[in-house]
Subunit: 240 residues, 2 copies
DNA sequence: TCTAACAAGGGAACACTGTTCCTGTCAAGT
DNA sequence: ACTTGACAGGAACAGTGTTCCCTTGTTAGA
């Protein structure tokens, strides 16, 4: 679409709807829809989230959902902010521990997405501007500033950390959410290792030599490594 | 899908198909399909890439495409490897310049995706194991090893750099590929700045204070900042 | 009390997707 | 000259998000 405009203004949604028809018992609401949608994503993944599947669980037709949610796009955005809202950011910013606190925030982002299927892959495409996302940014920025990082480093740094946590969550969600057990993932890594080792040595000498290390680290250590790199890099940037 | 297995073995595809029917002029082939598909992605974006749209340009039916490509999934993978193949990696690894060389590789990845609509968003979900991707990995690993980084740092580092370049390319492709002009993006950033500045100061003191820096940097400087952070962080990891 | 207005609910249809079935067709091999 | 077999592609299938528009329960007004 070439006439697509960038989103006009970030709204904090407040639309309220009263139940009208129902002889009680049947109360459709935005929250009910979100609950069901979240359940579907958790249990079956993002691909299973269709307007039909949501409507079916609520024993209604798809059309009814559009009274509470303007599009599937909006529904997903609401889900994302809800998930971000689950994050519990630590206490007061501590100038001596900004590195640990930043890491902890990133860990929380990763963890919270890990609990919700492959929702992370949807979050990646959207700039999270919901209430909860703002709260999170506010906290991380506070931590970095308290740590004495210059404002321009903080501005780009918070963006970078968020990008990293999201990207990792996205990548990991691809395998995890669609039925791949940890065993399968380990087996896949092993197979990759053998594949690398078996490549033609003359063309891929380094990959062959590194077949081991390349397929060694599992998820956690990989994530922590990147975190450490980022934090050390940010510290170096602050130093000049 | 819970019975979905991880991809079995990474194949370097070599299926060859000879033209049979044609009275010349009408020669369907895998390459012709890829050319057309690439053209569609470049011009109209990934969403416009449909088996129907490809078939239409080739003046044929969708079904015919499946003789050369087993699925749309495979078609996209082939496109991605083709794009990665456009990257020209620099010359010999230079021990004194590994940081610059790694940066340059990342820049190339970003640049090449920027030339091809929002294809980056598809690449993100897949582990690129095509011939060309391997060549790229081989080169970057060589550079890092020549630079004296320990093997475990190299292994995770190359992964991290690739993740970063891909993630940035993905993010940027979202806006760029769907008709948003640089002016619109700048306008959007400005609007964001005003939005941040107008937030309630008591709840978001840091965001309000940082409204300027947060929405300041445009694409290039943002990308370069992250690159610098990563490279410095990797250097620090190597130091211990 | 009866009625009119309203708004939520939802069935059905629309336009689209990726994929497969199955028949027609043409070029080469015998 | 005739069979063979791979390519081509129309049509159909099972999905998707979204919209149209009629039904129906509730409420306000006469």
């Amino acid at each position: 679409m070439s006439d697509a405009e960038l989103p006009p203004a970030p709204r904090l949604p407040t639309r309220e709807t009263r139940p009208a028809r129902s002889t009680r018992e049947r109360t459709l609401s935005r929250d009910a829809i979100l609950d069901v949608a979240m359940g579907i994503v958790d249990a079956e993944g993002l691909d299973a989230l269709t307007m039909r599947s949501v409507a079916h669980v609520l024993r209604t037709g798809q059309a009814s959902l559009y009274a509470y949610v303007t599009s599937k796009e909006e529904l997903i955005e609401l889900l994302i902010d809800r998930v971000i809202g689950e994050i519990r950011f630590g206490g007061e910013p501590d100038p001596d521990r900004w590195q640990d606190q930043v890491k902890e925030a990133a860990r929380q982002i990763r963890a919270v997405y890990a609990r919700h299927g492959d929702l992370a892959r949807a979050s990646f495409a959207r700039v999270p501007l919901g209430e909860n996302a703002l709260r999170g940014s506010e906290w991380i920025i506070g931590v970095m500033r308290a740590g004495g990082l210059p404002d321009d480093v903080v501005a780009l740094g918070v963006d970078l950390i968020a990008l990293y946590a999201n990207a990792i969550a996205y990548e990991e969600s691809i395998y995890l959410a669609e039925g791949a057990t940890p065993e399968q993932i380990a087996a896949y890594a092993e197979e990759m290792g053998r594949y690398f080792a078996a490549l033609p040595v003359d063309r891929f000498p380094n990959i062959v030599a590194m077949a081991g290390p390349l397929t060694a680290g599992e998820g956690d250590s990989r994530f922590e490594f990147g975190l450490e790199v980022l934090v050390r890099g940010l510290a170096a940037m602050a130093a000049g």
